[in-house]
Amino acid sequence: MAKVRIPTPLRKLTNNEELIEVNAGTVGAAITELQSRYPGIKERLVDDTGAIRRFVNVYVNEEDIRFLQNQETPLKNGDEISIIPAIAGG
């Protein structure tokens, strides 16, 4: 089981749950699993073409999934997924 850390703007959809456990084997499957439990969450993360939205960054154990295998990135027991809006420089 992996854990998904839900960012503040999405917690209205998860009844304010901050950490959600999923059984999925990949990041993409985890998003689908979240959608089945919290309808509406998928369209917030993924655009019409199925790609992760431009201003959403997804990390597995602190590594950006674009450096891993994007939505195909495998998940194992204890992994932690973070969903974070892109922010500015400094």
Binding site: T8, R44, F55, F67, P85, G89, G90
Partner: protein, 412 residues
């Protein structure tokens, strides 16, 4: 200020400390009442005000009067004839934010806006994720009005930038990781504590401060838009805001709506935006930074998408330079204009040189280089590359011998 508006879908939000659209995570931007501003804002009115960035007050996102950084901005615009000759261009200007007040970088512009707005919203603790300059500016400007501050930086920053935050009594947290990791952590921290994070939840206000650099360029050119502006890119935010400032001035009738290009400069060791632009893509691929230009070392640039859009819309170019070319750029500016800039400035000069050489900035045109930070903060990057003082005893004979030897060398 009218509202905060999502740049992606246009949904509006109240003017609070929030930065992301709840629907699509798009960045929120401040919306203004331009028709109303147009009725009252004239060049004469602006010129009658003190020479600070706040002379463009109507176009900066605070509700009342500024209370932090009231002296920031209106930095020198230097006509750089000697550098122009060396780069082979008819006319060249240096917008010199290396001497911005009080912390010697353009970041004082964004911070004075963010902290003034944070106080309006009732915050007493301010914070930031920073590659160094922003940390310096938050620490100093917070100290000047008694705000508590937390600044988060990559632990391996230049010594000058670390000391320059500590001295103001800020809580400086060094993160063992690169800026993108600091950024991610801060996004998570910002959601947890009730602080004003200048580049997270205060970002819509903060980012608008950068426009003042563009307003000043246009005013200092005699109320004209420059043909070419070369801007260093980290997150890409400054480039998009310079573009916005030119558009706003044109829209308000303060300048003639002439054609301009805003070119982007990056270090080759962290060039996701310039690489994407050169290959004609409208999205970038994140990278792991490896460059001496640490203030530009953002591998996942949040405004990269919009920076690409601006360069495409203005038919501008982007390029990147190696560490050696960055040092050469620093020396070129220092030796020809007497201005010592940090590594980011070396990037800007180096890229300008390339763009002029390749004709992307035509030799007969006029260009402005945005110099955003001061060389005294990144001494580490040039130590060992600028020679060493020759040491002698306090004796006239020894000095004459030294001069003599050097003259002989020079004639060989």
């Amino acid at each position: 200020m009218k509202a905060l508006k999502c740049r992606e879908c246009g949904r509006e939000y109240p003017l609070t400390a929030t930065h992301v659209c709840e629907f699509d995570f798009g960045p929120l931007e401040v919306a203004y009442d331009y028709p109303k501003i147009k009725q009252s804002l004239t060049p004469e009115k602006i010129q009658s005000r003190p020479r600070t960035m706040w002379r463009y007050r109507e176009l900066l996102p605070i509700a009342t009067e500024p209370t932090v950084g009231c002296q920031v901005g209106f930095t020198p615009m230097v006509k750089a004839d000697r550098l122009a000759r060396r780069l082979g261009i008819r006319e060249l200007w240096i917008k010199n934010d290396a001497v911005n007040y009080p912390t010697l970088s353009f970041k004082d512009r964004v911070v004075s806006v963010a902290l003034s707005r944070a106080r309006e919203l009732g915050f007493t603790t301010v914070a930031c994720a920073s590659t160094g300059n922003l940390a310096n500016s938050v620490a100093a400007n917070a100290a000047s009005v008694g705000l508590k501050s937390y600044v988060f930086i990559p632990a391996d920053l230049e010594q000058g930038k670390i000391v320059n935050s500590l001295v103001y009594g800020a809580n400086v947290i060094g993160i063992k990781g690169h800026y993108d990791e600091v950024n991610r952590l801060c996004a998570e921290i910002a959601g947890k504590f009730g602080w004003a994070f200048v580049n997270v939840n205060m970002r819509p206000y903060y980012a608008e401060g950068s426009k003042s650099m563009g307003f000043e360029i246009a005013e200092q050119l005699g109320w004209k838009l420059p043909q070419h502006t070369v801007v260093p890119m980290a997150s890409g935010s400054l480039l998009t805001k310079i573009h916005k400032s030119f558009q706003e001035f044109a829209k308000l009738g303060l300048v003639e709506d002439t054609k301009y290009k805003v070119h982007g400069a990056q270090a080759t060791g962290c060039s996701p935006i310039s690489v994407a632009h050169k290959s004609g893509m409208d999205f970038f691929k994140p990278v792991k930074p490896d460059t001496i230009a640490k203030s530009l070392a953002i591998g996942t640039p949040a405004d990269g998408f919009y920076a690409l859009k601006v360069m495409k819309e203005t038919s501008a170019a982007a390029d990147d330079v190696s560490d050696d070319e960055i040092r050469e750029g620093i020396r070129l500016l220092a030796e020809s204009e007497g201005i010592f800039t940090e590594t980011a400035g070396g990037v800007t000069v180096g890229v300008a040189k390339k763009l002029i050489a390749s004709g992307k900035i035509p030799a007969n045109d006029s260009a402005v280089l945005c110099i955003t930070g001061n060389g005294l903060k990144t001494l580490d990057a040039v130590v060992g590359h600028v020679g060493k003082p020759r040491e002698i005893r306090p004796s006239l004979r020894e000095f004459e011998a030294l001069l003599d030897a050097e003259m002989k060398l020079a004639t060989v």
